[in-house]
């Protein structure tokens, strides 16, 4: 592979505090060797990627994306989804353990990683199951799963109803410095709800999930985190109240972090309209005040990451009455655009937005990625911040076209993506030239 210089772009690398016109030098092994200053030993034969007018940033890190393998291949395959990911500038994915079978044995964890490796596109780092079969009763072999590459432990959307089991799981994880990823919710208050309990669910006659379901769950889990000292990450909080609780816990020095999904930063319960099942997600889209609370969390750093919570579905999954449809949005291709929209709407500036998709999730996962300092793997995303485009089902690369953002006009489009110094996606807009 040739060495490569990405020239003339606006390099935004929040982890290394960079935002400005900088050239990026990448060696023949796929590592960043220098920024701006061409190293003396840089090969004369190298490729040049012209990046004038583009933003050059670390390949995006998506904290939560489901590629549907193993077990749910009728919805999407790893191949289709990692292709969609790199076309959207995402070079690292973290997938939850709720595959079939769940990721509760090292074999499954290794399988997921090696299959992804073979495609040579985006990396996939799995989360291991917190309890066997995600049943909420017995612990998994966390140490072995950690060895096998799991970057954290989660019970996905299956509740751990027995508080004692949750305490033990946290204590065990804490013994080895492992991070638990929580979807905190009280299952009794969730009940059979499918939409936020509020104005819209009342009008539409949809069974409601009160915000209290989330806050009760978060309160319980915070108390246990304090008790056990485990490092914990709250996944996709949806209510302003829960955000405030996490912010307070952080102020008190608890080792907690949180993320927000890209769609919760833009949509509310009102987007359900008249039963649009594309807006059926868990946790549900809540009220305007909750969306504002989530935006504040992202702006003030309480939430260090924005993720897609990518859940591609086959068409039938959404062609049902709202409560019977399957929840989830195919979100890879709107992760960057929706985050950039926050910049347009004045919630955060561009470097902060990029941090939410790179440095933030990388730190939460404890991974060496999401930055472009010397020695870093050259996973790079180049995007044109001015290009306007409309999301259409026909041009989506994911197998899942289930998204309420079809027809939305976005500003900011990925032009090229590199993984380990190799171009894995090229929209054709920034030609590379060979220099003898």
């Amino acid at each position: 592979m040739n060495a490569l210089v990405i020239r003339g772009g606006r390099l935004v690398d929040p982890a290394n505090g960079r935002d400005g016109l900088h050239d990026l030098y990448i060696d023949g092994q796929g590592f960043v060797v220098a920024v701006d200053e061409r190293p003396a030993d840089f090969p004369a034969e190298h490729q040049v990627v012209e990046a004038a007018g583009l933003v050059v940033c670390p390949g995006l890190v998506d904290l939560r994306a489901r590629v549907r393998e193993p077990g749910l291949e009728y919805k999407a395959t790893m191949e289709s989804e990692v292709r969609a990911a790199v076309a959207a500038g995402i070079t690292t994915l973290c997938c939850p353990p709720d595959t079939q079978p769940p990721i509760d044995t090292p074999a499954v964890a290794q399988m997921v990683q090696s299959r992804a490796w073979r495609y040579g596109l985006a990396f996939i780092h799995p989360l291991g199951a917190l309890t066997r079969g995600l049943q909420g009763e017995q612990l998994t072999d966390m140490a072995a799963l950690d060895e096998a590459g799991c970057v954290g432990f989660s019970n996905a959307l299956a509740p751990v109803t027995d508080t004692l089991v949750m305490r033990r799981a946290m204590e065990y994880a804490a013994s080895f410095g492992l991070t638990v990823f929580l979807h905190s919710e009280d299952p009794y208050l969730h009940g059979r709800g499918t939409a936020h309990e509020g104005e819209v669910s009342t009008r539409l006659g949809l069974p409601g999930i009160p915000a209290a379901a989330e806050t009760v769950g978060v309160a319980r889990d915070l108390a246990l985190i304090e008790q056990t000292g485990v490092r914990a990450h709250f996944c996709q909080l949806s209510s302003a109240r829960a955000v405030a609780m996490v912010a307070e816990a952080r102020r008190q020095g608890l080792p907690v972090s949180m993320d927000v999904t890209a769609h919760h930063l833009h949509l509310t319960e009102h987007d359900i309209g008249f039963f649009d099942s594309q807006c059926h997600v868990l946790p549900p889209l809540r009220a305007l005040a909750d969306r504002e609370g989530l935006r504040r969390a992202v702006a003030d750093g309480t939430a260090a990451a924005v993720c897609s919570d990518h859940q591609p579905h086959e068409p039938d999954a959404k062609l049902a009455p709202f409560s019977l449809s399957e929840p989830g949005i195919s979100g890879l291709e709107t992760l960057l655009p929706l985050t950039l929209r926050l910049v347009d709407e004045g919630v955060v500036d561009l470097p902060a937005a990029i941090a939410l998709l790179t440095r933030g999730p990388a730190e939460i996962l404890g991974l060496e990625c999401g930055h472009l300092g010397p020695g870093a793997t050259a996973d790079v995303c180049l995007f044109d911040p001015e290009a306007e485009w409309v999301l259409q089902a026909e041009t989506m690369r994911s197998r899942g076209h289930n998204t309420p953002f079809l027809g939305w006009r976005f500003r900011g489009r990925v032009v090229k993506t590199l993984v380990g110094g190799r171009v894995v996606f090229d929209a054709g807009a920034a030609p590379a030239t060979d220099r003898a």
Binding site: G205, L206, P321
Partner: protein, 335 residues
């Protein structure tokens, strides 16, 4: 997408009836007026108004209901339509495949109108969004969301006994949380300009934020019935006692059952309505149900006329009279 977009066509004609919400007042009045013209039919020997001759109506009831389905069947037959009744086995695990596949199969048999009742909110909307332009849908009840024809029948009853809505104070009592009828009644009353709409129930049976629908909530029934002109009693299903919504039938009847002494708080000429079937001794005392202020029985006759009106309007063309020719100068005699 808003409800009117799906229910009304480009000229503002009613194409489907899925919910009262979003329909203009004139259209609701038109439904009531049309129903009135069908009422006179019921008294005649020939009860026919063959507007739908040659059309096929399918009653697609995923939830059994002999009463509502029979009313729709009689209404369709009086309009001379061919009627097919289907009660598909609905298992929620089979999800939407059953629903839309069923519809598509029936369309192939040249169905013109589906009357659909389904246990999940939004089912009628889903269907309406997936049928060809010449097929019409009437929602006969979807989950907890809407039951527009029942609400129109209730409005017809109110208008027949009380006249103008603007002067009326209406109270809806009981399990609003689970009631699609109540939601539709609230939309109808507010659109028709009812003076005041009150809802009376314990907090456990009122949907969160119900005031935003334009109603005043009360937990004290006596206070809520003060000076009311119309009392609508909702059905309470016995399962609610097991679901921890109310403690017991006894307590519910004490607090929210319509007894003569509670009725006395309302205006002396107040009418009592119930969408049926009634639980005597739970929602309503027999003395009231059989008393002079109860209009529960006539509601049945009105039901057929209202459903005929809705079917006729949904299947028919422009609601406006044909364009009036302009008057020319009077001509002298011609050949």
């Amino acid at each position: 997408m808003t409800a009117p977009d799906l229910q009304l066509d480009a000229d503002g004609r009613l194409k489907h009836l899925l919910t009262i919400e979003g329909l203009p007042r004139e259209l609701l009045v038109q439904i009531l007026d049309t129903a009135a013209s069908f009422i006179t039919l019921a008294e005649k020997e020939i009860k026919k108004a063959p507007l739908l001759r040659g059309k096929t109506v399918v009653n697609l009831f995923f939830e059994t209901s002999t009463r509502t389905r029979t009313t729709f069947e009689i209404a369709a037959k009086r309009l001379a339509a061919d009627v097919i009744n289907l009660n598909p086995q609905h298992a929620s695990t089979r999800k939407g495949e059953t629903l839309l596949d069923t519809i598509h199969n029936l369309e192939a048999m040249h169905t013109d109108l589906f009357v659909v009742r389904h246990p999940n909110s939004g089912a009628a909307f889903l269907i309406a969004g997936h049928v060809p332009p010449h097929v019409h849908i009437i929602n006969a009840g979807d989950g907890r969301h809407a039951h527009p024809t029942q609400a129109m029948l209730d409005m017809f009853t109110i208008r027949a006994h009380k006249g103008d809505f603007g002067a009326l104070r209406v109270a809806i009592v009981g399990d609003l949380l689970h009631s699609r009828v109540a939601r539709s009644q609230i939309h109808a009353l507010t659109t028709l300009g009812a003076g005041e709409v009150r809802v009376i129930a314990p907090k456990t049976l009122l949907p969160v934020g119900v005031e935003r629908l334009g109603v005043h909530p009360y937990h004290d029934m006596r206070a809520g019935l003060e000076d009311v002109d119309v009392i609508i009693m909702l059905r309470l299903q016995r399962e609610r006692m097991h679901g921890a919504f109310i403690p017991s039938a006894q307590e519910f009847f004490n607090l929210y059952g319509l007894t003569p002494d509670k009725l006395a708080r309302a205006k002396p000429d107040a009418i009592v309505m119930h969408p049926g079937p009634m639980n005597r001794g739970l929602e309503i005392d027999s003395a009231v149900a059989d008393g002079p202020q109860s209009v529960i029985l006539p509601q049945v006759t009105y039901g057929i006329a209202v459903r005929m009106a809705v079917m006729a309007l949904v299947m028919g063309g422009s609601p406006l009279p044909p364009r009036r020719p302009r008057r020319a100068a009077l001509k002298e005699g011609g050949a």
